[in-house]
Structures are given as structure tokens and as C-alpha cells.
Subunit: 472 residues, 2 copies
């Protein structure tokens, strides 16, 4: 079995008073947050992982602020918990053992946006949507588009290797990531990678940091590759009698040679939830849908592809209806419905436990079936939607009050086991955080987990960087 | 300064005799290579790093063979040097401290090619070109295309994070890599990643192994993501009066919104070398060229893009001539000329020291100028060609006999310094191996190198996996 670690007790009041004084001396006082009411702002994220009020918080403006804060915290044996937009779904940014939150929102400067090298260098607190706007204003394109893009931050995107609907064509954050500046618990500031579009000097520590959920160090600068902006985007909404047909259609469309940038599925429960809120009329009945999106520089070619996919869908994939967005406003409506999903589900059922499993594409129909079965065994409902083009599904186990929690947990564990059995992963994009820690051992062997713990120790000998995350 | 390690003495004859006996008992005898003449086959690669005859070699067929070989070697304190196609340009697969070569050519089975999950699982000895053929026969596509694809192996591609001309659009091996099976020096066999197209459970050890040049463990199985095969490819050859104009054109073409899958540059020296061998008439004069390639599913759209790029090139980018391949055979001729380059240069000048630097796209004109200046300072000629769409340039320092070696080394070091000064890397795709070890410290700080050494020690406590590589 993987070794386990006892939870560290929260730092004493005296210890916090001491580091508070040290921080005041080292940093501008306005960087410091000690007021309990304000600290509450950093107590939760968008998961159901609970509330953990940090004992102190720093809002750095510069890498030097981060270095000083980490030095003071580490010297006093106090945990350091970096926090981006707080939009995580796995509790990854919560101060579960107390200590100091490093809230990166103040480090929100776009340092450079270079049209002649197709790179952007930014501070980690830049909001992803703001980067999109700035990049697109220059005729360039940054693909990763997590659904929280209006509030999530690039640093958090890197820490979780965030992706989003455009992943099938463009890949996750890691595929756009060229360089990082990080500060380790040992006090070292390292520059990893750089601004060249390709490089293989030494180990790929850039990728190692990407997705490490703040457990190896704090990201203080990010260099990203940008792309030429595709001139046209075409979007369609396809309806199918069931999720199995919708997921089979995903593979068939790819087999026909198409490379959609997005292929998003919603099952009938998800569709029911947004029906009253959708900005256009959804067909009635027991349906599933796919949002399909293509991009490129030639409008006619995109339309021809869309027409061919629509024909294929209706003639041989069992689609009951194909709607093509006729203009930008219809496109926006389709995506707005997709983005309404999470809040609509929460509103209708009260609570949801959101998984983000992924399986090989061929196994999507099977896992959809298993999910319904596992939920039914616990007398629970689920809404499934997600990035079907990646085999990545958001399985939302729906419940109304805490009394259902044990059943929810039983259903979740059964689904995780099924997912791993089908060759999949328990987290396709949200990360392990604290919510999925108990299940990591379903997917990874004890020696593999032990090796990662040793790596963590190498970077962070006293286990002070976002402790209590990832590993069981 | 980074700590340095003394070179390990070669194992004694007795030690080799002993492990030879143990290997014979543990494996089929025909897996073993002990004949000095046959061992010569594993003494060199395609670099000018010299000849290092291994003391013994094993040609495993299975992961179990690899496990047993590593266990025996490690127990006896003998280095293990994994070897793919032997096409490396940095000496990465050479047994510089003697010991046992693990020649992976016998592990050449395509385990699965799954059209319904768009994945391939292969043994590491599968030749990259053979994988391309098998994948394309199924209507799918595996983008990475190192120029040695007829003899390099997938395992070596992963170990070096190989890429090739199609990198600008599709990225390197790492971007297609989903899962690995590896055997560590500690005897552990680990499965990293999986077959799902997305996953963020734990640290990204898949990416860490990718590009680690065999220093962390031996790759025994590889799972790759496949793509739908683009139906059409269009190729053009653009000539410019000089390399500066050609490299500025790369950025301008991207700024105009195009995303070519390949943008390959050759300077006038490179063009002169292939002129007598080229399969079509090259224009005369002091020229540089770009091979530009687009792919997609709509032939008309590709042609329209190509026409628009051609017009832009002639009207505003200073192109002197634009040739568009009219059919597949002309396409092949263009690429055949590109592939002739390396041998043609070797034939004309006798010897070349090949660098594979990369700089930010904006700095390509400047580094081209600096390269010529640095070579001229040493009274040497250079031929520059490479993946200009990535800012990745093969700088070939040309010489005829060993007496020029000290000047070559002086020019190389000066070019590496300039590259790093311009924000670039000393190796964009070949790896550090042994040839670039002395220069890693130009690009990376002592703490960063020390950290990587510690990681190496974690995976390989006795420093027996491909020792003497990467780190200075």
C-alpha cells in the first residue's frame, strides 16, 4: 500500500502572528490579508470539497513577493497554497491544512504579446478570457478554453493542465506551454523552457509542472505558444435518440476524416435541465446532443464539411435532427446553452458531485451505460455531458441533501472502478485535488504513487507546497 | 558550478563473462550478442560523437527480456544503454562507459491499431515509417516525421521527443503520446498514462520520460494518439534572394492567418549542395528556399490558400520564384531534395558538425546572420537548413579533416552562446546526448541542472541507465 501521511495540525496563533509580522516587514502591507472575513474569500472553490479558511493570505504583485512569502512560510513550517481563480472542481486550491494562501490575482500583467514570435508571456494571475481577448485582438489564437474562462487564471490552467471544448483539435494547456518561471519551497527561482517553439534540452520540467497542482512550487511567469487565428468557425447542434448513438457518431465523424475542434455531448438529463433556459427551442423527447464545431480559413470548405457531416449523421448515424448555426449569434446561443449546464443542473437538483472521467473513445458508449447502471443501483440520477471528442465525460451525480452523500460516494467509486477497468482515467481535466485522492490508487499502482511522492519530496522536502493534495 | 562525475571505467572481462552467463541462463541464447564484430554494429550513431563498442548487447523480444536484462546488469553494476534505430545526432545511444546495449529492434510489434479509439499501441522497436504506413492504411494519421523515419524507431522517438517537418501544425512526439510502459533500474515495471485521449491524474511522468534520452529507464511499450488522415496535401517551393527574407516570410505567412504543416528553410549553401542532385532544376544565384506544405480535406481551399501565399510571397515578401507541386510525384521530388541535403553536404565537404538550435521566430533572421559571422571568424563555412516554422535550424559547420576540429568547436560554442542570448535553445530536437553536454550549462543554471541530476538519482540510484548523457 502507498504510505500515508497524517494531516498536519494548523499552525498556532502565535506562529501566524509571527509570520504576519515578518510578511509586513518584507512586503507592502497591502499585499497581506489577515482579516478573517476577507480570508473567507479564499476558503472554497467550485467543488463540493468544503470550506477551509486559510490562516493568512498574501496577494503578491511580483515574483519577489512570492519568493519572500515562500521563504517566510517555509522558515516557519507553514503550508503555502497557491490559488488562481478558485474555479477548480477538485479542491486543489484549498488550504486543507491551514497556512498561507498565495492569491495570484494581483499578478495579472500580460508581459508581452509578440506577433513576430507567436508567443505570449504573462503573469500567472491573468484571466484566461482576458488573454483570449488580447491575443485575438492581435489576430492570433490561444486555444485552451476551460468553461470557467471568464474567471480562471492562466497559472491555475497550467497547474491543472486545463483544456476545454477545443481540446480535440488543439490539445491541453501543456501543448501550448513553452516556458515557466517557478519558485520552489527551497527558495530557488527557476526558469524552465523558454520562448523557442521547440526544445529538448534536459528533462521536460515544464510539462512536469503542468498539472502538478501547485505541489512542486509556485508558478510566477508563463510563456505560451500562440497560433494564427482561424478566420472562420462553424457550429452545429446534432440530436440523437440516445447517448450511445451520439458517442458512436463522434468516432464515425472522425473516421470519415473530419477533425472537429469541438465535439461536446449532452445526455437527456442534461438537455432536460437546460431546456427551460436555452435560448432556442430544443426538440422534445428522450434525446442526446452533440455540439460540433469546425474551424479553418475557408468558409466554403467548412460549410461543405458541415454539410457532409450532417448528411452522414442523418443518413447513417441515427441523428434525429441537425441544426446548423446560421450566424455568430446562433453560434453563441448554442455555446451559451452548453455553459448554462452546470448552473442549471445545480439549480434543479440542488447538489451534484461532478466527476471528469475519460475513457478510450471506443469505450464511451459502454461507460455511459455503466454510469446509469451504477447510479441506478444507488437510486440516484446522473447528468452526463462533456468533451466526447476526447472521450472525456462530466458525470454529475445529482442529489438534494447531504443524507444522500454515502450513496453518492458509493456510486462515484463504482464509476471510477468501471472507468479504470475500461482503460480510462478518473480525471481527464479537473485534477485529483482532495476530492479524488481516495481513488488515485484505483488507477495507479503503489510503486508509481510512491515514486511521485519521492519526486514531491525532492522539490519540497518539508511537504509545505500545497500539502494534502493528489496523493492518498 | 554543477557537480561533475568521473567517467566510470569499463566493466572487467570477468564481470562481462559473468553477466553473459547469467543472461544466457535467463534469456534465449539468440537474444545475446557477444561477438565483437556484431557488437561493432552498436558502436556508432549518426552523429560525429565517435565509436564506442559496447561490451555486450541484448536484443529483447519482450518486456520480460528487458526486465531480466536490466536486473542482471544492475546487480553487476554494469551500465544499460537502450538503443533504437541508431539514427541519433547527439551520441545519445552510445555506450560511452561500456556495458550492455539493449538493442530494441526485435521488439517491433504493432500491438494494436484501434480505429474506434484512434490509438496505436506498439513495442518501442517499431520503425516510425512502418507505423506511418500501417496507420495510413487504416485512414488514420501519425504526424511526427523525423527525417530518419525509414530507420528510426518509436522508442527512440519518445526518448528524444522527436519531431520533424510537420511539427509547426502537429507538435512533437510528446503531443501524441498517451501512455508508456517502462522498466526502471530499480526493477520496477511501471505503466504511465493510458489510452484515454486526456488525463491529469498525478504528475505527467509520460512527458517526463519523453525526451529523457534513456536516462530514467527503458521504454517497453508506447501508446500513441492518432488523428483522422487529412485527405489532401499541397506543397510549394518558394525561393528568396536570401535567408533573412525567407525567415521573415515564415512569420508573415503565419501573420496572414495560415497554419502550414511544414515550413522548411534551406540557405544558399544548402541549395548549392543539392543542386547537382535535385530532381528538378533549381534557379541559379544566391538564394534561399522555403518548402511550404498545407494539409486539409478540401483541395480547392488548399489551392486557394497556396495561391494567396504565393501572391503574398511575390508581391510583398520578396520571393523571386514560387513553384507549386502539380502532382504527388512533384511533391515527392521536393521532399526528396530536402532529404538529400544531409548526405549531399557530407559528400561535398567531407564532415559536418550538425547543431539543431532553435530561437524565437522573431530572432531567426538575427541568428542566421550571427551563424555566418561566427563561422567566418573561424574561417569555416556553414550550411543552414531546418524547420523554420518552429524557429528550429540545423546549422551544419562544414570541414574536411580533423585539423579543423578546434575551430569547429569554437564556432559551435559561439553559436550556442548567441542562440541562448537570443532566447533560444541549444537543442530543438536532437537532444543533448554526449555532444552537447559541455554546453547545457550555457542554457540552464547550476541549480536547475542539479535538480535534474537529483531526479535522475531518484529513478536510477546507481547511475546505470544510459550513464554519461545529458548532464555536464
Amino acid at each position: 500500500m502507498p504510505e500515508s501521511r497524517p494531516k498536519r495540525p494548523r499552525a498556532s496563533r502565535d506562529a501566524i502572528a509571527k509570520i504576519s509580522q515578518e510578511l509586513e516587514r518584507a512586503l507592502s502591507r497591502k499585499r497581506l490579508v489577515a482579516d478573517p472575513d476577507l480570508l473567507e474569500n479564499y476558503a472554497t472553490d467550485e467543488s463540493c470539497a468544503g470550506s477551509y479558511v486559510p490562516q493568512i493570505a498574501v496577494r503578491p504583485k511580483t515574483t519577489e513577493d512570492v519568493e519572500k512569502s515562500i521563504a517566510i512560510a517555509v522558515r516557519n513550517g507553514v503550508p503555502v497554497v497557491p490559488r488562481g481563480g478558485g474555479t477548480g472542481r477538485a479542491g486543489g486550491c484549498l488550504a486543507v491544512e491551514g497556512g498561507m494562501v498565495l492569491a495570484m490575482e494581483g499578478m495579472n500583467r500580460i508581459i508581452s504579446l509578440d506577433k513576430s514570435s507567436f508567443t505570449a508571456t504573462v503573469q500567472p494571475g491573468v484571466v484566461t478570457g482576458a488573454l483570449h481577448e488580447a491575443v485575438e485582438a492581435e489576430g492570433m489564437f490561444y486555444p485552451p478554453d476551460p468553461s470557467s474562462l471568464d474567471s480562471c487564471q492562466i497559472g491555475g490552467n497550467v497547474a491543472t493542465n486545463a483544456s476545454g471544448p477545443r481540446n480535440p483539435k488543439y490539445g491541453p494547456t501543456r501543448d501550448q506551454l513553452l516556458g515557466l518561471e517557478v519558485v520552489l519551497a527551497t527558495g530557488e527561482r527557476l526558469r524552465l523552457g523558454g520562448r523557442a517553439l521547440k526544445g529538448v534540452a534536459g528533462y521536460d520540467l515544464v510539462s512536469l509542472f503542468c498539472g502538478s497542482e501547485g505541489t512542486l512550487g509556485v508558478i510566477t511567469e508563463v510563456t505560451l505558444r500562440l497560433l494564427p487565428r482561424p478566420r472562420h468557425v462553424e457550429t452545429a447542434l446534432l440530436f440523437f435518440p440516445g447517448a450511445d448513438l451520439a458517442s458512436r457518431a463522434v468516432v464515425a465523424i472522425m473516421q470519415a476524416g473530419h477533425s472537429p475542434r469541438a465535439l461536446e455531448m449532452m445526455d437527456h438529463v442534461a438537455l432536460e435541465a437546460i431546456r427551460p433556459k436555452a435560448l432556442f427551442r430544443f426538440p422534445e423527447g428522450n434525446q442526446s446532443s452533440l455540439i460540433l464545431e469546425l474551424d479553418g480559413n475557408d468558409k466554403d470548405a467548412l460549410f461543405a464539411s458541415l454539410a457532409s457531416i450532417g448528411e452522414q449523421a442523418e443518413s447513417s448515424l441515427g441523428a434525429s435532427l441537425v441544426l446548423v448555426a446560421r450566424d455568430e449569434s446562433q453560434r453563441r446561443d448554442i455555446w451559451a446553452s452548453r455553459r448554462l449546464l452546470s448552473p442549471a443542473i445545480k439549480e434543479r437538483w440542488g447538489q451534484k458531485y461532478a466527476e471528469d472521467i475519460a475513457v478510450p473513445l471506443s469505450e464511451v458508449p459502454r461507460i455511459v451505460e455503466r454510469v446509469h447502471q451504477r447510479a441506478a443501483e444507488q437510486e440516484l440520477e446522473t447528468a452526463i455531458f462533456g468533451h466526447a471528442g476526447d472521450g472525456s465525460l462530466h458525470v454529475n451525480i445529482l442529489f438534494q441533501d447531504q443524507s444522500a452523500w454515502p450513496s453518492v460516494m458509493r456510486a462515484a467509486e463504482a464509476i471510477f472502478r468501471d472507468t479504470v477497468e475500461l482503460g480510462g482515467t478518473i480525471t481527464s481535466e479537473h485534477g485529483i485535488g482532495i476530492l479524488k485522492r481516495p481513488y488515485l490508487a484505483l488507477e495507479q499502482t503503489p510503486p508509481l504513487i510512491a515514486l511521485q511522492r519521492q519526486m514531491k519530496r525532492l522539490f519540497d522536502p518539508r511537504d509545505l507546497m500545497n500539502p494534502g493534495k493528489i496523493f492518498p
